[in-house]
């Protein structure tokens, strides 16, 4: 059974890692790598990117496919297709599909009056270099 939800949204590229993490897969295309760099530091070619994840549910093997459309480094559309056959997996996949964009909230930091930002987008120099190397390999 297939369920497809299409919705237009605008959250950053990193949103993909939620999907990738949930299904325990590593998308083949570089933009979908977990830990994608902050959108401001890289640019990605516009287009559609897809990744399929397979996982073992208590009811047997299941898979989920995530397709995103990128325009100007912003995710403009997310399509999550669950292929669940087991009842529980179907319910969980449906909840996930409903939740993915609806619960991502945020206010532009530029519009807030703040002194500091607490996040972990700045990580170690060596780590960032290594990640850049891996992304380079994936693009090659």
């Amino acid at each position: 059974m297939n369920i497809t939800h299409r919705r237009r949204t605008a959250f950053a590229l990193g949103g993909l890692s939620v999907a990738a993490t949930l299904v325990g897969c590593t998308p083949a295309s570089a933009p979908a790598s977990p830990g994608a760099a902050p959108a401001s530091t890289g640019s990605y070619t516009d287009g559609e990117y897809s990744a399929t994840g397979e996982y073992q549910s208590p009811g047997g093997p299941e898979s989920i496919e995530v397709t995103v459309a990128l325009e100007g480094n912003v995710v403009t559309e997310v399509t999550v297709t669950g292929n669940a056959t087991d009842g529980n997996a179907l319910r969980y996949q449906t909840e996930f599909e409903d939740g993915i964009a609806a619960e991502v909230v945020g206010v532009n930091i530029d519009e807030l009056s703040v002194d500091k930002v607490a996040g972990s987008s700045l990580t170690s120099d060596g780590f960032n270099d290594a990640i850049a190397q891996i992304k380079g390999d994936a693009d090659a």
Partner: protein, 287 residues
């Protein structure tokens, strides 16, 4: 809004910024650098002249530096509150996942859970005793602890009002309270809330930072696998050591259990994007 002047530098592999009402001056700047270097030389898993490296290649008794007790005691409490999921013995599993000194970021096959604390190390308040080499990693709380130690240097040097920002770990001491945006883990241009910080620490952690294809740095010691249910955390406490440790522990443990041991406030984002926070959190949450 940033007070000037401020001092920026790299220490323990990341970016630091100290804002203060008056310039620190060269002697105090040197003292700060010495303190961070001393900490790195003891606790770094990424250099082969560190104490942690020696402990990873030989067994026996190792006299630990004077700053060790507070760090190890915090770790022991977190270990108990998370039923063993948070431990300084996670180093080997991180290496196996590829988070090693060469940053190979390529996992091996057959990743193992961390050894149990009782099986691997004993600590008498002064020396660490091991029966076989162990890879310690103090990444869960070490950076926050170093922020506290640097703050001591500044206070001892007569600085009355300052903010230390060590890329995710913040400590505010004296002066006007800070408004701090809680960076959206999936979109650094957005905030999921704003915290008010006055004479205390705020630490943030996210599993999609320091992540690589197939893995990330928040490894559950019980399974040896990256944790998935929580994707970002923020914790406030009076010390940066405690706030940093709790920011990590909130990925693995329940806030109610941690609240029995620690006085802190927290926010976390679950997989899927929903937010949870403590009722006493000082600030706004955009949910």
């Amino acid at each position: 809004m940033t007070p000037t002047p401020s001092l920026s530098f790299n220490a323990i592999g990341t970016r630091w910024q100290i804002d203060s009402a008056d310039p620190l001056g060269a002697p105090l700047e040197a003292a700060v650098r010495d303190r961070t270097e001393e900490f790195d030389r003891a606790w770094s898993r990424f250099r082969d002249d560190s104490l942690v490296h020696r402990i990873s290649v030989s067994s026996g008794s190792f006299e630990l530096p004077a700053d060790a007790p507070a760090l190890l005691e915090l770790y022991r409490t977190l270990y108990e509150c998370t039923d063993g999921a948070v431990t300084p013995l996670i180093g080997r599993a991180l290496e196996q996942w590829g988070y090693d000194s060469a940053y190979s970021l390529r996992p091996i096959r057959g990743i193992t859970p961390a050894p149990r604390w009782e099986d691997a190390i004993s600590w008498d308040g002064r020396s660490l005793h091991t029966v076989r080499p162990v890879v310690l990693d103090v990444g869960a709380a070490g950076k926050g602890y170093l922020v506290d130690l640097v703050a001591h240097v500044l206070v001892d040097g007569g600085v009355t009002a300052f903010t230390i920002d060590a890329s995710g770990d913040l400590l505010h001491h004296g002066g006007r309270p800070l408004r701090v945006a809680l960076e959206h883990p999936l979109d650094p241009s957005k905030a999921i809330g704003v915290a008010l910080l006055s004479d205390g620490a705020l630490c943030a952690s996210a599993s999609n930072r320091r992540a690589w294809p197939g893995g990330h740095h928040l490894i559950d010691a019980l399974t040896g696998a990256p944790t998935k249910r929580v994707i970002a955390t923020w914790a406030t406490a009076s010390s940066c050591l405690v706030a940093d440790g709790l920011a990590t522990a909130l990925f693995f443990g329940e806030p109610e259990r941690l609240a029995r041991e620690f006085d802190f406030e927290w926010v976390r984002m679950l997989q899927g994007g929903s937010l949870e926070h403590s009722s006493g959190f000082d600030g706004e949450i955009f949910a």
